[in-house]
């Protein structure tokens, strides 16, 4: 199984039936593919819709129905259009059950940096700061390392997205939960050892006994 699919399948299992979820652009968007269609997970996109669905059939797209990346999407029956103020009312007001976002760095305190690399990349925070501050659960979906360098670090060197601790980190190697006691290693990806995870992580990991393998719902 490809690294992205491992991450997406594992994150999909975190999303509860009848919940409202915002998926970041890129890798997180792909999580939707692995949600049980009967679970009635509802996706919101911060540009203003509750009930976002997959890309439209070829030739059936509408320029006024898009995701937060500006790409055309479809919608589920029972979708609702909202303006930007309402959209962030849902996000900031705690009505969003979960957001799934990428990361540049996560650290031992559970702090996230995902919006700027000073002097190099200045995209702006978009909705990320509101999402990380306001969503009930913040799930980070990312590759464990970037060009071989650990992204889970003792302390973020990049500017933080929020001072609110994120809820869970899901990578192609592991599931890690930030807690008061530090980053607890909860699960290993299929075939990955604890030693491999520790080697790919520059932050200290808390390891309590046996670390089980991820359940991806299918054979990896």
């Amino acid at each position: 199984m490809k690294p992205d699919e491992i991450i997406q399948r594992r994150v999909a299992r975190e999303l509860k039936p009848n919940s409202l979820v915002n998926l970041g652009i890129g890798l997180p968007t792909g999580v939707a593919k692995y949600i049980d269609e009967h679970a009635n997970v509802l996706f919101e996109s911060e540009n203003g819709i509750v009930g976002l669905a997959a890309k439209p059939p070829e030739g059936m797209d509408d320029p006024d129905l898009t995701d937060a990346g500006g790409g055309t999407v479809s919608a589920v029956p029972g979708a609702a259009t909202i303006d930007s103020a309402y959209s962030f009312g849902l996000i900031r007001g705690g009505h969003l059950d979960a957001t799934v976002l990428g990361a540049l760095e996560v650290d031992e305190r559970g702090m996230l940096a995902n919006w700027v690399v000073p002097g190099k990349m200045v995209p702006g925070m978009g909705g990320a700061m509101d999402l990380v501050t306001g969503a009930r659960r913040v799930i980070i979906a990312m590759n464990h390392t970037a060009k071989g360098a650990p992204k889970i670090v003792p302390k973020c060197t990049l500017p933080l997205t929020s001072i609110r601790r994120i809820s869970l980190i899901v990578t192609d190697l592991a599931v890690i939960e930030p807690t008061d006691d530090g980053l607890v290693l909860r699960e290993r990806a299929p075939g990955v050892t604890v030693e491999q995870i520790v080697a790919a992580t520059s932050a200290k990991l808390v390891i309590n006994g046996d670390v089980p393998e991820m359940d991806l719902g299918v054979a990896a």
């Binding site: 203003g48 259009t81 930007s84 996000i91 929020s162």
Partner: protein, 217 residues
């Protein structure tokens, strides 16, 4: 009946140095023809308040490419490298604001509120130099209201009285900006006689709209 103008005449109302709010999200729900005319008009030194600057040379990106913008207040410029280049070269003074804070600042401007109290950005570099307020022992960031000389917005349908309705994700910042500017210019997809839009579907009452852009010839 609401005054109605061609895009090229509407942009004549806008002086160099004006402060503009522009609706849209990555160009979706932006007033496309108005932005075309504005980019071609040779304006300079505009301040733009908008969610983003779309892509290079597209919608608000046309204003960037035309060198019309000297100051930008936005949440995201990541998909327009020309804006980033202008920022790094010091040609465009860019203020990046979290999206939810940006829209509330605009709303506060339009609704006569003194500011926005939010946790978003607190303790990050986005909050540097900003006032905080203690409320019952909790710290909140105070973000100030935004107002503009002009709001350039797009709508799906307008009626002759300027009542507006929006469609799907083309709604975004448009209805919020419609209350926050001295002069509101709206480019609707279609214009209908009064009474064709149900009062319950109107999202912006015509009374706050100053000009409608006529349909394309």
């Amino acid at each position: 009946m609401k005054p109605h103008l061609k895009p090229e005449d509407a942009v004549k109302l806008i002086p160099d140095g004006a402060r503009l709010m522009i609706g849209g999200f990555m160009g979706v729900g932006s007033p496309h023809r108005l932005l075309d005319a504005l980019a071609q008009s040779g304006k300079r030194n505009l301040t733009v308040i908008a969610n983003d600057t779309a892509r290079a040379g597209v919608d608000i990106g046309k204003l960037i490419r035309a060198g019309a913008v000297s100051r930008l207040i936005a949440s995201h410029i990541g998909l327009n490298p020309e804006t980033q280049k202008g920022m790094i070269a010091g040609e465009i003074d860019v203020e990046l604001v979290p999206q939810g804070t940006l829209v509330e600042r605009i709303r506060a401007g339009g609704y006569g509120l003194g500011g926005v109290l939010t946790k978003t950005g607190l303790g990050t570099i986005a909050a540097e130099g900003q006032q905080t307020v203690e409320i019952d022992g909790e710290t909140w960031l105070l973000a100030k209201p935004l107002k503009a000389d002009f709001a350039l917005i797009a709508a799906d349908q307008a009626d002759y009285a300027g009542n507006l309705q929006y469609q799907l994700t083309a709604t975004n910042f448009n209805p919020i900006m419609a209350l926050a500017a001295e002069t509101v210019i709206c480019e609707p997809r279609e214009i209908l006689p009064v009474g064709m839009i149900s009062p319950d579907v109107v999202k912006t009452p015509g009374v706050v709209v100053d000009y409608l852009i006529e349909r394309a010839a």
